[in-house]
């Protein structure tokens, strides 16, 4: 109880500080991003973790699992709500192709790099299957880009044009590819797949994940109506997330992935869900704050982590650049300098962290903690670098007025 209260107070204080700082428009772009992307929450997490106060130990974090699962479920649901097929059909196919090719190349490059790195550096305390799992999860995380950073840069430099729009689409689409890849990959390493008592194969768990998401989405669809009051909507949202995240946790499946499917089903089956979506969005910042604090507390500065994080950041940036260049070869009319565009996609958003934390609670242990630390390091460094690279790309494309 004490810890929950402490976290609540800290989230509230850091959120208010962030809000106040964010409203000071005279700050430079990079300073705004520093606050906007929650570095203060990470610092609070590190302060609460074993490096300083020691209040958020691994045991305490494990006790907070329901809260974190609900946060992950809420993010999944909110994210799924953005994928209304009717709206997606309006976008040109080229956008999907560009994002698909770019993220696939990123996935393959990071997978190979991280698999090699884990085999070289941590082969003593990881099985080959564990190494493949680690590399797969990190590769899925690598695919994710941050639409928020791009949106903030575009807003700040007041750029407009085809490249600005393309960057928004790619970053948005990268996210869903990342979550889906994680959702598809994780069931193959499901905890009970390796236990003797239950013999459901990996593809079985995958089907169960999808079926649970679809079934719950259909069931919840009948509870959400455009007529519902905000009071009723809040209750429905909390009920949905608690039930589906609880069920995911009960079956040791990804709360993020199952809620993503629930969100996709809901937004495609129910009409006029704008009010419901606005309600989900209203909790985004505080939930993101909670996840950053938890990740900050789980962050461990070791040489091994530093080496793996460096490999991750370098190979990811290279892969993003290469991937975007390769995907744009057939669309030279859109971008003048395709070789640079990928550098604008290196920022990692909250979804990357959500995947890492989801995995941390599905498979607790040293390896999953390491993945959280690598992701957080990458997220922080990329949050500092990306505004410069994105600004540069927009400048050379001539979209800054």
């Amino acid at each position: 109880m004490e810890t929950v209260i402490l976290i609540l107070i800290l989230v509230l204080v850091s959120y208010m500080l962030g809000e106040r700082a964010f409203r000071v428009h005279r700050l430079h772009l990079e300073s705004i991003l520093f606050v906007a992307y929650g570095i203060e929450f990470i610092l609070v997490g590190i302060l609460l973790g074993p490096y300083a106060l020691g209040l958020l130990s691994a045991d305490v974090i494990d006790r907070l699992e329901p809260l974190i699962n609900i946060a992950l479920g809420w993010i999944g649901l909110m994210f799924g709500f953005q994928f209304r097929f009717k709206d997606l059909k309006l976008l040109p196919t080229s956008n999907y192709l560009i994002a698909g090719i770019e993220s696939s190349i990123t996935f393959i490059v990071v997978l190979v790099a991280m698999l090699s790195a884990t085999m070289i550096f941590i082969s003593d305390f990881i099985t080959p299957l564990g190494a493949i799992q680690t590399a797969l999860i990190i590769a899925a995380i690598a695919m994710v880009s941050s639409p928020a950073v791009i949106a903030a840069v575009i807003k700040q430099v007041r750029s407009h044009g085809r490249v600005s729009r393309l960057l928004r689409y790619i970053t948005g689409f990268d996210n869903i590819i990342g979550v889906i890849t994680f959702g598809l990959a994780y069931p193959f390493f499901h905890i009970t797949s390796r236990a003797s008592s239950v013999t459901i194969p990996g593809w079985g768990w995958l089907l169960i994940s999808i079926a649970v998401g679809l079934a719950l989405g259909m069931l919840f669809h009948f509870f959400t109506t455009p007529r519902a009051s905000s009071n009723e909507n809040l209750m429905i949202a909390v009920g949905m997330v608690a039930l589906s995240s609880g069920l995911a946790s009960y079956l040791s499946l990804s709360a993020l992935f199952i809620n993503l499917i629930v969100g996709i089903v809901l937004c495609n089956y129910s009409e006029r869900q704008d009010r419901f979506y606005r309600l989900l969005i209203s909790a985004e910042k505080p939930l993101y704050g909670v996840l950053l604090i938890i990740a900050g507390a789980l962050w461990r500065a070791t040489w091994l982590m530093a080496v793996l994080a460096a490999i991750f950041i370098l190979f990811r940036a290279t892969a993003k650049t290469l991937g975007t260049w390769a995907s744009l070869r057939n669309y030279s009319s859109i971008v003048r300098n395709p070789g640079w565009l990928g550098t604008a996609l290196i920022a990692q958003g909250g979804i990357a962290l959500a995947i890492a934390l989801d995995f941390r609670f599905l498979a607790p242990g040293e390896i999953s903690n390491l993945i959280v630390s690598i992701t957080l390091t990458g997220l922080t460094i990329n949050a500092f670098v990306c505004p410069f690279t994105a600004k540069h790309v927009l400048k050379i494309e001539g979209e800054i007025a």
Binding site: M1, E2, V4, I5, L8, I9, V11, L12, Y15, M16, E19, E65, P66, N69, I70, I191, T192, A195, S197, V198, L219, F220, F222, F223, S230, N231, E232, L234, M235, I236, V238, G239, M240, V241, A242, L243, S244, S245, G246, L247, S249, Y250, L251, S252, S282, A283, K285, P286
Partner: protein, 440 residues
Amino acid sequence: MRIASLIMLFALMMVIRLFKFGGPFDDPLARTMVGFGFLLFAGMVAGELVSRISLPKITGYLISGMICGPYLLGLLDTDVVERLKTIDDLALALIAFTAGGELHIDRLKKAGRAIAAITLSQTAFSFVIVGSVAFLAAVSFGRMVGMPLLAAVALGMYFGLVTSANSPATAVAVIVETESRGYLTDQILGVTVLKDIVILFFAAFILTLGGWMTDPTKSLEIGLILTVLLESLLSIVFGIIAAALIALYLRFIKREMVLFVLATSLIIVFLSEYIHLHFLLVCMTAGFCIENYSRYGDNLISAIERTSMTIYVIFFAIAGASINFGILKSIWPIALILVVLRALSFAGGTWIAGVITGGTQMVKRYSWSGYLGQAGISLGIASLVLEGSPEMGSMFYTIVVASIAINQIIGPVALKFLLSKAGETVRHRIEENIGGLQWQ
């Protein structure tokens, strides 16, 4: 379609209950989350269904909890219900904020005399009538088991004390749901809140005296009464400080109100427990001060009301799930006698107060039915008695829990009918306005 969906969710819960997978699947936290989500949907649908037959929604929430709880269908086991009870304090804190915020000084001034008279009269009547009957019963049956006379007096006092208490949570929930406004609404809310405070002081005195009567070898701890007085006074001071801080937030930041209200309530609950204060009194005082002494009362109350449905569903559904039908079945006649005696003493007390203060016929004849709800404080007192004298306390606790169960079922229904009869619900106000327009 919502009912069909709920039936599917029922089936899902049955599967989880029947196929206890065990091993890595037997995670109590996961089951609690599923149970929490399920209760929200079950409560929502049950609330809608009972409102169609003009019953208050909270009756539906209670029924859903009873049906799904461990003593009927068992979709939620006792472990899950106990874990969910940790949300109770948060819910109560929010309800106390609402109760405080609903008390308007100018309106209270009008009903102040009646509120004070009814509070004192009802408390005195129920304490004397129920206490005397319980004492006589204890003397009659106590001879067989060799109960000392002083212990019988103590038992009588305990019964008199617990039956005096009301349930502000029930009153607030029904008033918020029916959006009632008017003299009787103010009076019911005022009496319920004031009585809780009076009972708090009274309980300290009775429990101290009763403890000495059941075991005269113990010394009479007068210090306990002073401690309760001091804690209550400090709770009011803490409530004023909390109100000032909340008002500052509302003035300078005023963002993410729902999150702010939830966090503030949790912090108050935690700090109150930590420094031994009564969090209900703190929240009521804070709500009252913000409503009456700042410009931000509406902001606070509207933020709380945005979460109210979730809070009420979970609070009353858990209360329903906690009703032990095994106990109720075994001692329902005694519990029913207690319920009837309590209702009669409230009716008598209210009538006398009405005569003294010159109340209307509505107040004198019918308003007693608005005070039947009984919950938290009675249960708290019963637990303390059980703790103090386990032998006598266990029988006392069982009877009190059974009578609370009955009162919780009939209390909200009676209150809603009373408010409708008095024409103070929003429905009546709208009908009156429409009627007025047609007539014009």
